[in-house]
Every structure is written in structure tokens, then in C-alpha cells.
Amino acid sequence: MTVANATIETGTAAVRVRGVSMIYPGPVHALQDVDLDFAAGQLTSLLGPSGCGKTTLLKIIAGLLTPASGTVMVNGKKVEGPGPERAFVFQDFALLPWANVLRNVAFGLELRGVPTSEREAVAEKYIGEVGLRGFERKYPHELSGGMRQRVGLARALSVKADVLLMDEPFSAVDEQTRRKFQEDLLQLVTVEKRTFLFVTHSIEEAVYLSDRIVLLSPRPGKVWKIIEPDMSRELSPDQIRREPGYLDTVESIWQNLKDYVE
């Protein structure tokens, strides 16, 4: 579990997806023959219109769904269920309403049997990192949507997983909060040096955040194009949004996706 960040070489594949297909009763071919590598230490987005199987793929990598065929390897080990090297951030936050922020953030560690004082110390650290210091004793219903998702993110960070799987984490958050959250997430990605897999249906969000964008096409869900935004990460958050590279990438993805939007 503490095989942590130092051993990750940026660029090598942390997650390998080979020949993954998924069929839901119907039958609906949610995914067909997906081959993908996710580079360690990078943020990769899965982007596509609804019905392209991006969340399905993320949940297969998480071990929450079993694919009809194909395999997923994380750090060289075959995925056969959830594991300690992966942590999930849920679209609807999935916080315990009866637990305060501190307990919610520490909950992953609580399930692993880490003693109270130890897990709370870890939780405190990440509560600070996601910008929620001072809210430790608040309950989810006392927080805004954006703050709740920060709790979800802190919980995922606390278990020291190498791979963070984020399922449309900002879709239930209002636009202003989302922008601020995106900027903070970029900051976190540089600080934490972990592998982030990020599902989104927002082109701007994908381009803004990602080192690499995997475009999926719908019915059946297939890898269709892989794009690496051509822009400098040295810029300030505000500069990025005005950068020609950013704007061009957004535009070209939109031109590509247009055909799939009815």
C-alpha cells in the first residue's frame, strides 16, 4: 500500500486495459474490445457522449463491475475486484450522512482497520489539502455540493492509492464552484503525483485538466481517438483558459464529437 509515489515513473503504464468488452442485458454493447494504457503520474480523461461506456469502463477498472471479456492490469496485477492501490471518487459523492467530515474522510482507512488516532491524523492532512480545514466536525448536509465532493476526494486520497478513479466528480456541482475545484485539482495532481483517471462529459473540463484525453464513441463504446492537449502546464489557471492551444483543442474535439450528437 505504501508502494507510494516515489516508485511511480511518469510515463509507464499504471493501468493496462486489454480487449475489454461489456454487455448489459438487452443486449447492449456498452464496451467493445477496448485496449488502453493509462500512464502513471498523469491525469487521463475519458470523454464522450452519454452511452459511450465511459463510466462502465471506469467501474471495470475499479473492480466494481466484471467485464464480459478482457482483462485489466493495475501495476502489473490483474484486477479481480476492488484493491488497495485504487480509490474511487463518486459522482454523487457517496458520503455517510450520519458521519462528520473527519469520519467520512477517514472511512476508507476505518474499513482497513487503521487505529482511530492514526487514521484521523491522515484524514486531517488531506482535509487540509483539499481546502476543508475547519470543517472537520460538519456533517454532509451542512456542506455545499462542491465541499461534499472535496470530502469524497479527500477520502480517496487518504487511502494512499496510486490510482484515483474519478467518475464525473464535478457534474453535480455548480459552474463557479466547479471552476475553482478544477483549478485546485490541477494543483493537487502536481503535488500528489498519482495516476488520475477522470470521466467527464465536459470537453472544456477534459482539456483543462488532462495530460491525455481518450475519446470514446458510443454504441458500442469504443476507443475512437486519443488526444494530448498541446499546451504548457506552466501557465496559471486563468492563462490556460485563454491559451490558443487550449482553445484549439476544445474546438477540434467538438468538431470530432459533433457527428455523435443527435
Binding site: A62, G63, L64, P82, G83, P84, R86, A87, F88, F90, Q91, D92, A94, L96, P97, W98, A99, N100, F107, G108, E110, L111, R112, R137, Y139, P140, H141, E142, R155, V159
Partner: protein, 252 residues
């Protein structure tokens, strides 16, 4: 704070209206068998002073407490079992659905045949009245645990046991407690029903006796005392739930 004050005011107002209407109707009078609030209160005071009312309550409360305790324990356990395990669900749920729909007063003669006219028969009436709703509520509560919370527990490597105790039970507790409240109320009805239909003891005895000699204020005093007992007990259940399972509501 202002909201607290307003809700208290509304509660008080609702009591004043109902009790006022009672007093008014009693004074009209609507019927000779319908005493006013003040006459009932006077009778209740008299019966409390000479000890008849407390004694009767002490007798009635025995099958209530035994029956409700058995029902709560067995009902919640059965409800959890049916909620957590499909085979137990298939086995148990149809039975409780039928029991819940059955007019239970009709079963009482059968219970007398089996258990006689003593405490056992009365406890069994309480249990039969209370258990189905407790089981069905607990079962539904477990089945309706948020899917994403279950997925969360799974993805963070929670064991089945941890998932049950740290996620499913706390998530289900509001609906389980709602079932306990309904079950307790039904159980109290059962206890009084048993005293009226099986053998007159306690409050049931007071009600039948005073009715037979047309002492209506005394009869109503007995009825009201049992209603108050039940209401107090339900309030106690509410507090217990808040204390045990709902820290977020205590904080707010």
C-alpha cells in the same frame, strides 16, 4: 430558533383546539356517555389518588412491555435477515404480508385456545399485532440502502460485516425506527384488545367495569391514560433513535 418557537406554538395550539373541542362537546352534551374533559380529568385525578389507575396501568404494562420487547428484537432481526438474504426473504416476507393484512381480532379466540386466558395469550396478541410491521419496515429499510453507499463500501474494501454494521444498519435506522414506532403503537392496541377480549385485567378491566355501571368519566380517564402511556413511550423511542443513530440531527 424562531422555527423552534413556531413549531412549539403550533403543537400547543393543536392541543388547545382538540382539548377545547372535547370540553365543548362534553358540555353540550353530545351524548350522556360522552363526559367533558374537566369531568374526565377530575375522575382521573380521583382514580390516581386512590391508586386504582396506577395499579391498572401497572398490570396492563406487563404484557405490553414483554410483547413489545420480544417484537422489537425478533422483528428487527427477522427484518434484517430478510433484507440481507434472498432465501430468508422468500421464506419470510409472504408470511408477514399475510399477517399484516389479517384482521387480528379474529385470531384471538384461537390464541386463547392455545395459550389460555393468562399472560401468555396477551403477550402473544401484542406480538402478533406488532411484529409484521416491524419486520416489513426493517426489511424495506435494508433493501433501500443507497446503492452508491454500498458501492463505496465495496470499493474501499469493506468486508460484508463492516458493510452491514457501518453502512447498512445506520442507513436503515430511520425506517427501522419508524417501523418500531408503528409496531409499538399496534402492540399497545393489542394489549388493550387482549384485556377487553380475553380476560378483563388492568386498564381493560377499568374500561369494561366503568362502562357497565355507566361511570363514563372514569371510563374515559382509563382510556386517556393508556393513550398517554403509548404517546410517552413513542416519544422515548424517538429520543433513543436520536441518541444512538443520528449524530447529524443532534448537531444541527
Amino acid at each position: 430558533m424562531a422555527r423552534d418557537l413556531r413549531s412549539t406554538a403550533l403543537t400547543v395550539a393543536s392541543f388547545v383546539i382538540v382539548l377545547g373541542a372535547w370540553e365543548y362537546a362534553g358540555r353540550l352534551p353530545v351524548s350522556n356517555a360522552f363526559p367533558s374533559l374537566s369531568a374526565t380529568a377530575a375522575a382521573a385525578w380521583e382514580m390516581t389518588r386512590d391508586g386504582r389507575l396506577p395499579q391498572a396501568l401497572a398490570i396492563t404494562i406487563i404484557p405490553m412491555i414483554i410483547g413489545v420487547t420480544i417484537s422489537a428484537l425478533a422483528g428487527v432481526l427477522l427484518g434484517l435477515a430478510t433484507g440481507l438474504n434472498n432465501r430468508v426473504e422468500w421464506l419470510g416476507i409472504p408470511l408477514f404480508l399475510v399477517l399484516q393484512a389479517a384482521p387480528l381480532a379474529a385470531i384471538i379466540p384461537m390464541l386463547v385456545l392455545a395459550y389460555g386466558v393468562g399472560l401468555a395469550a396477551k403477550v402473544s396478541v401484542v406480538v402478533i399485532m406488532a411484529v409484521p410491521v416491524i419486520v416489513l419496515n426493517s426489511y424495506k429499510a435494508v433493501r433501500h440502502t443507497s446503492k452508491s453507499l454500498l458501492e463505496m463500501a465495496h470499493s474501499f474494501l469493506g468486508t460484508r460485516r463492516q458493510t452491514i454494521f457501518k453502512v447498512i444498519l445506520p442507513a436503515a435506522s430511520p425506517v427501522i425506527f419508524a417501523g418500531l414506532r408503528l409496531g409499538t403503537a399496534a402492540g399497545f392496541v393489542g394489549a388493550v384488545l387482549a384485556e377487553l377480549l380475553i380476560s378483563p385485567t388492568g386498564i381493560g378491566d377499568l374500561i369494561t367495569f366503568h362502562q357497565s355501571i355507566a361511570e363514563y368519566p372514569e371510563m374515559y380517564a382509563a382510556i386517556v391514560s393508556v393513550i398517554m402511556l403509548s404517546a410517552l413511550f413513542l416519544e422515548f423511542l424517538d429520543r433513543m433513535e436520536l441518541m444512538l443513530f443520528r449524530p447529524e440531527r443532534r448537531a444541527a
